[in-house]
Subunit: 262 residues, 2 copies
């Protein structure tokens, strides 16, 4: 069985009473990330692809800009520890970063400072995608979400081009699932520009921020965005689509990339 | 209109093409929490009940144990700042706490240290609840979730007794929604033992930890738990119920509190 999952015995309750059943649940794992021997964060996550998670997390947090900034990466799955060595001087801002790291939980921010302070270009990609192509991507996305189908306990994320899904991940945290995608791209040298990120989760500003950092022009979610998520996407040239489920979607920003024709 | 909400114009995409529509979205707000002039955390939240959120957050994080530890609480909604004064010496662990505060996101942990290290009693409440009562609570819970019905963009939490919902909150973060409940209880002197917490969100160990801290014996979620959430609940005498939707529920721990008869 996959290490993200576990079988357990539960009581199922209905109007007819309770009954013992076998159920599948998700495993929760705590990963402490050390950069140059300093504890940066402890993530609650699913116990798979921890190298991708670590790399994507450090990228999202601005502690690395790419693979070249990593001099060493050791995952100790037994101890729940990731040890990262970075170029000396590349992460001088660590202590400050830790102060900016924010408490957990669906929809809590990583940064106290406005994103605008961070010099960052918006996306100028001219890529377009059709409504039919989006429906096809979401169909494939749902089919790949095996752990979600078994447990209902994880979020999914994917990197795609218009023709299909290239990378896929699931994690108990919606942020982690996306970080795992970007981490895999960084470690394998996979390009992210001119591509699409899919997420099952709600889109707050920090999710848009990750996509912006990865220079991805299209972000499509099964769920709702926030006003700040939309504003950030609009301002930095990202096409943000939400509630892409069934045969519908809401296009919240930079709608010119979505074309009607197939 | 409620300050948690905003109207906006979107493009709705279907197989027939795109069409302009009015839509309601949730507002995202960033609250920087200072305790004795030290920045403790910045929460991404919905902009309501910020005094409850601040109080509940500090309680969850162990920085206060009750109202008596708060010497002052000022919310500056315009600046997005909460300023808390606590008893001198009560929050000596702040710097350390900040180090333990963890990065954002659905299902990420607040603590690097095991909960077991924190001396904490389990629940020895003898309260029982029937399956019919649980269905009735969930029906009321869903009816109260107005912002969710309008936007799909928030989580809900509630404090109940067996007869109905006593306190209700909605927030873009599932952790925040629960913190707002406990914060309101603390500020208004409302008892939480012998009562029930409802949540729309997934139940990882940090959610169980909050409920344990508030000494609530019953935790009922519309969504999935993790293995660690279940383990913590079982060990500390909390009855954990998940997937309480439709006319079903899964009972994961301490099932003796759930009785068949009405």
């Amino acid at each position: 069985m996959r290490k993200e999952l576990k079988k357990t015995i539960i009581l199922q309750g209905t109007e007819q009473g309770t009954e013992r059943k076998e159920d599948t649940i998700v495993n929760e794992f705590h990963l402490a990330i050390f950069v140059n021997k300093q504890l940066i964060a402890t993530l609650t996550c699913s116990p798979a692809k921890l190298d991708y998670l670590t790399t994507g997390f450090l990228f999202s947090e601005g502690l690395i800009n790419g693979k070249e900034d990593i001099n060493g990466l050791i995952i100790d799955q037994h101890e729940g520890v990731a040890k990262v060595k970075t170029e000396q001087g590349k992460n001088k801002g660590e202590a400050q970063t830790v102060r900016r790291l924010i408490i957990s939980g669906g929809g809590k921010s990583c940064f106290t400072e406005p994103y605008y302070n961070q010099s960052r270009q918006g996306s100028n990609s001219q890529i377009k995608i059709s409504i039919t192509e989006i429906f096809a991507l979401m169909d494939e996305f749902i089919q790949l979400s095996k752990i979600f189908q078994d447990t209902g306990g994880v979020h999914s994320a994917a990197l795609c081009d218009k023709n299909g899904i290239l990378l896929f991940s699931e994690d108990i945290g919606r942020h982690n699932a996306i970080d795992k995608i970007f981490g895999e791209c960084i470690l394998k040298g996979i390009k992210t520009n001119e591509r699409v990120i899919l997420t099952s989760g709600r889109v707050s500003s920090e999710i848009v921020h990750k996509v912006l950092k990865g220079n991805v022009p299209l972000l499509i979610s099964k769920s709702a965005p926030t006003d700040m998520g939309i504003q950030l996407a609009e301002e930095f040239g990202i096409t943000l689509i939400g509630f892409a489920r069934g045969r519908r979607m809401n296009i919240y920003s930079q709608g010119w990339r979505v074309v009607n024709a197939a």
